[in-house]
């Protein structure tokens, strides 16, 4: 096909134009080369021959973590790291050998760290070296070309294992983390939060590294700093924790495996979260040694596990709060209902035994005495489906959404669940078990705290929170968190009154007397949860003051046997501390 003459002409004109554009552009590049190589050639030659540029990263200090009153929980301290600049390593084998002797690290390990590192990047090979090593390195400076000592701010946990599970710890960034995070400015060798708040808010806490452009001579010795840009320290994270209450909770829990959660039922702010056994996050601050890591990670007592959010337990009798609420809600019972407890319950030819015969009980005294027979009757009246529905409404069987990594969901069993997991239908006996918190139900202490908070505040199922605010390094408030209501449970005022009366009776005259505190009305529920793996878990979940709840405390002690004996006294000590700290000042502030 032949184009009409006119367009043919235009076509060749356009070809000529294309040729002109290409010629012009190449010409400009030629001029630029003339500028670089001929006009400025001597300058660049000087830079290249005698002197070179090197860019050092200036590590920015990580942000602080404070408690709600501004007391530091996590800080930084100065330290020195030994690093290698692969590019400047002339006699690699020799240098590594000397370094290996000085540091006491096998050369193979040093080589491993250098593998794949870009030639122009400093590779940290040992953090937080002591003054003796530093002086030795200085003495042998001439044998150690390419070795640098750099100042690195180091993470410090002044309170040691205190609140370790909340705070978390740091570790060197892993390959897979790097893949995801490289474009947020993370680089090889960076320290990054691996657990707890350090991980949850890593991006807020990590600052922005600065850089230093240094002119160095042919031997890699710095001649002068050409340009320096200071880094920006990380933001300060203020937690809702109160250090004094945290201390009290951990001291009260002592050396018993378990967890304590203290929470403000009005806001969902977590005031204390303890989990034992614990560990010292300072061990991780400098890059933990494999032996220490293995010792902690393989410990059968699982010290790294945050038992408040990442361990799910049988709830035992604390679950009776759910059963009681379901019964009140479905009108299977009310405050005036009475029950007869002969000490056992007959269902389908099987005898279910209670601890003792309570005789005639009211709803209130049934709760106070944790009478199984009453709750079995309630459970049967309500039915498993409604029990499960109430449990879910109160936030069981789902993550609370607390701002910590690693939370588990727990289990609220249903008919389908049992069929699926065990291949068996749901029997009425299962409903009895569920009604008293035995069987398949699994809950975390934090979920229980959230339920208690909902009872205390009249039905708001809150999202528990650890972040109170974020401050810029200069102290400006960047963000302040507020309560998040995940769900609202609407029950009649009579129903709330009935369950609360029962919970007050638990502490005044029932199974939870060990949680009573002078001068303060306390409500709560004990639990002793049978477990297939040993002695029952001991529970206490309560709130105070009963008439104006401002504190929820939940205690779970693994294999602690009796809630009223093992868990309630721990709660009492936490509530007492809270009373000393908050009750008097609040009174002067005009609160009743």
């Amino acid at each position: 096909m032949r184009l009409p003459g006119e367009e043919q002409l235009e076509g060749s004109a356009r070809m000529a134009a294309l040729a002109a554009v290409l010629t012009g552009a190449l010409g400009l590049l030629g001029l630029r080369l003339w500028q670089l190589q001929v006009l400025q050639g001597a300058y660049y030659d000087q830079l290249a021959q005698g002197n070179r540029l090197r860019i050092n990263r200036l590590a920015a200090p990580r942000g602080l973590i404070l408690d709600r009153r501004g007391t530091p929980l996590v800080t930084n301290r100065p330290s020195f790291s030994v690093a290698l600049l692969p590019m400047a390593l002339r006699d690699r084998g020799g240098v590594l050998e000397v370094l290996s002797r000085v540091l006491g690290t096998p050369t193979g390990e040093l080589r491993e760290k250098l593998r794949g590192a870009p030639p122009f990047a400093l590779v940290r090979i040992q953090r937080d070296v002591g003054i003796r090593i530093l002086t030795t390195l200085e003495e042998r400076r001439t044998d150690l070309q390419g070795v640098a000592v750099i100042a690195d701010p180091l993470r410090s946990y002044p309170h040691g294992p205190l609140a370790a599970h909340v705070l978390g710890y740091l570790g060197e960034i892993s390959g897979s983390e790097l893949q995801h995070l490289r474009w947020w400015g993370y680089e090889m060798g960076d320290l990054i939060g691996k657990a707890g708040v350090e991980r949850q808010y890593d991006r807020l806490l990590r600052g922005e590294d600065g850089e230093q452009v240094v002119e160095v001579d042919a031997a890699g010795r710095p001649l002068r700093v050409l340009r320096q840009r200071e880094g920006r320290p990380g933001n300060t994270v203020v937690l809702t924790l109160d250090l004094r209450l945290q201390e009290a909770a951990e001291r009260a829990l002592g050396a018993r495996p378990g967890a304590v959660v203290a929470m403000d039922p009005r806001t969902g702010e977590i005031l204390a979260m303890a989990s034992w056994p614990s560990y010292d996050p300072n061990l991780f601050a400098v890059g933990i040694s494999p032996e220490v890591w293995r010792r902690i990670a393989d410990d059968p007592r699982t010290p790294l596990l945050n038992r408040a959010i990442a361990a799910a337990y049988e709830p035992g009798s604390v679950f009776k709060v759910v059963t009681g609420l379901a019964a009140l809600h479905t009108s299977a019972a009310d405050a005036r209902s009475t029950f007869f407890c002969s000490g056992s319950f007959l269902l389908g030819g099987r005898v279910f035994r209670d601890l003792r015969a309570h005789g005639r009980v009211t709803f209130r005294s049934g709760v106070a005495q944790s009478c199984n027979v009453m709750f079995w009757q309630l459970g049967l009246r309500v039915g498993a489906t409604h029990l499960a529905r109430m449990a879910r409404s109160l936030g069981f069987g789902e993550r609370t959404g607390v701002d910590l990594p690693g939370e588990v969901e727990g289990i609220v069993p249903t008919l389908e669940y049992k069929q699926q997991v065990f291949g068996e239908p749901w029997y009425p006996g299962d409903t009895l078990n569920m009604a008293i918190g035995q069987g398949f139900t699994l809950v975390t202490p934090l979920q229980v705290a959230r339920m208690m908070a909902a009872v205390a505040n009249g039905g708001q199922v809150l999202q528990p929170r650890l972040l109170r605010s974020v401050l810029s390094p200069e102290g400006r408030v960047l963000y302040t968190s507020g309560p998040v209501v995940r769900r609202r449970l609407s029950l009649s005022p009579q129903a709330w009154a009935a369950i609360r009366e029962g919970l007050v009776a638990v502490v005044e005259e029932g199974t939870g007397r060990a949680a009573a505190v002078a001068g303060l009305s306390v409500a709560g529920k004990t639990g002793s949860a049978e477990t297939p793996r040993g002695r029952p878990h001991a529970w206490f979940a309560g709130y105070a003051p009963a008439d104006d709840p401002r504190l929820v405390v939940v205690v779970s002690v693994e294999h602690g046997a009796r809630g009223g004996i093992a868990a309630a006294p721990i709660a009492r000590r936490v509530i007492q501390t809270w009373q000393q700290l908050y009750a008097p000042t609040d009174r002067t502030a005009g609160h009743p």
Partner: protein, 356 residues
């Protein structure tokens, strides 16, 4: 057949091979990546011969099939590609790695040439242009998502170059560019944060001073210190001390600039100039509109690569990862460029004897 065109391409290949040898050899492996480069070169020469000898019609017939294959491979890369340097661009086939975007560039040229050559008049309106170029869009999007912004721009340069050559009014071309800029905010919101960051670094390398910015400083020092005559082949200190990262791929021109100086660097630009002008002439001698368009497309592709890559190493263009044709180390690109050279030679072939 145009011997000058062939010689300029071979000259570039030879200089590239020397520069790669210089950049990658070390006391432990004195020949560096030389053997792999020679293997690519040999394969490329065979491809060049085949492309120069086939009847031009063949390219027209296989255009759609090649394009379909490119799309499939690009999709495969996006889904399962090998990640290098933070972007997915390669497919790994046993020991061989392959970069489908190189095939995609050629097949887009062929497909678009076919589409435009079917018309007697150039597309005059934006609508007509869009209608004609719609087929290019899937390849563009897939490459963009890898993410490979450099190659995406190469596609756009090819399309603009061909539309210009075919006589599309300048007004319409300007409208097209304007439209591209207008959809940017929409595209932006579709991107993942890390892709956005990459684009920001592209616009402002100082955002990534230890990555792209570092390369730029070192590249300028290497080239500048070469001065007029260069430090001599294999004598570059910046290169051999590995101040320059990736000096054998995207920054190979810096090795030439340092070791062969202004003379060598201008020589390379001169060879490219000869190649591109001769390429345009071959396009003009092509027997039909399809051939003309293919020629222009290839020239636009190679020319854009040269301008952006060299511009980057001398610090007048942002740092993007697009290689220097014939010189950079990289098998897929070399094969594609030699095949393209074969097609250019084919276009300029005297055809007096082949039919009426």
């Amino acid at each position: 057949m145009d011997p000058v065109l062939l010689v300029s391409a071979l000259g570039l290949c030879t200089l590239g091979t020397l520069a790669i040898l210089s950049a990658t050899r070390s006391p432990e492996s004195p020949s560096g990546l030389l053997s792999a480069r020679l293997a690519h070169l040999a394969g490329g020469m065979v491809l060049l011969g085949v492309c120069a000898a086939l009847p031009l019609e063949t390219f027209r017939r296989v255009a759609k099939g090649l394009y379909g294959l490119s799309l499939a491979l690009l999709l495969l890369v996006d889904l399962a590609g090998h990640e290098r340097l933070g972007a997915q661009r390669w497919l790994q086939l046993g020991p061989l790695s392959f970069q489908p975007s190189e095939l995609a560039k050629l097949s887009v040229i062929l497909l678009l040439s076919d589409a435009l050559a079917r018309q007697t008049t150039p597309p005059r309106t934006l609508g007509a242009v869009m209608g004609r170029c719609l087929w290019v869009l899937p390849a563009l999007v897939l490459v963009f998502l890898q993410p490979d912004l450099g190659t995406t721009l190469v596609f756009l340069a090819i399309v603009l170059g061909m539309l210009f050559a075919v006589g599309t009014p300048l007004r319409t071309l300007a409208g097209l560019v304007g439209m591209g800029l207008a959809v940017m905010p929409v595209v932006w919101r579709w991107l993942k944060p890390y892709q956005q960051k990459r684009l920001l670094v592209f616009l402002d390398p100082s955002l990534d001073p230890l990555g792209a910015g570092y390369h730029l400083i070192q590249s300028k020092i290497a080239i500048g210190s070469g001065q007029v005559w260069g430090k001599g082949l294999f004598q570059g200190t910046q290169n051999t001390l590995q101040f320059l990262p990736m000096q054998h791929t995207d920054f190979v021109f810096a090795v030439i600039g340092e070791e062969l100086g202004f003379v060598g660097a201008i020589g390379v630009l001169g060879l490219f100039w000869v190649y591109l002008i001769r390429g345009l002439q071959a396009a003009q001698r092509a027997p039909d509109a399809f051939g003309r368009l293919v020629g222009v497309g290839i020239v636009a592709m190679v020319g854009f690569h040269v301008l952006v890559n060299v511009g980057m190493t001398v610090g007048v263009m942002p740092v993007t990862g697009i290689p220097l044709p014939f010189l950079s180390y990289g098998g897929s690109a070399l094969l594609a460029n030699l095949a393209a050279t074969g097609i250019l030679l084919n276009l300029g072939r005297r055809r007096g004897w082949s039919g009426p």
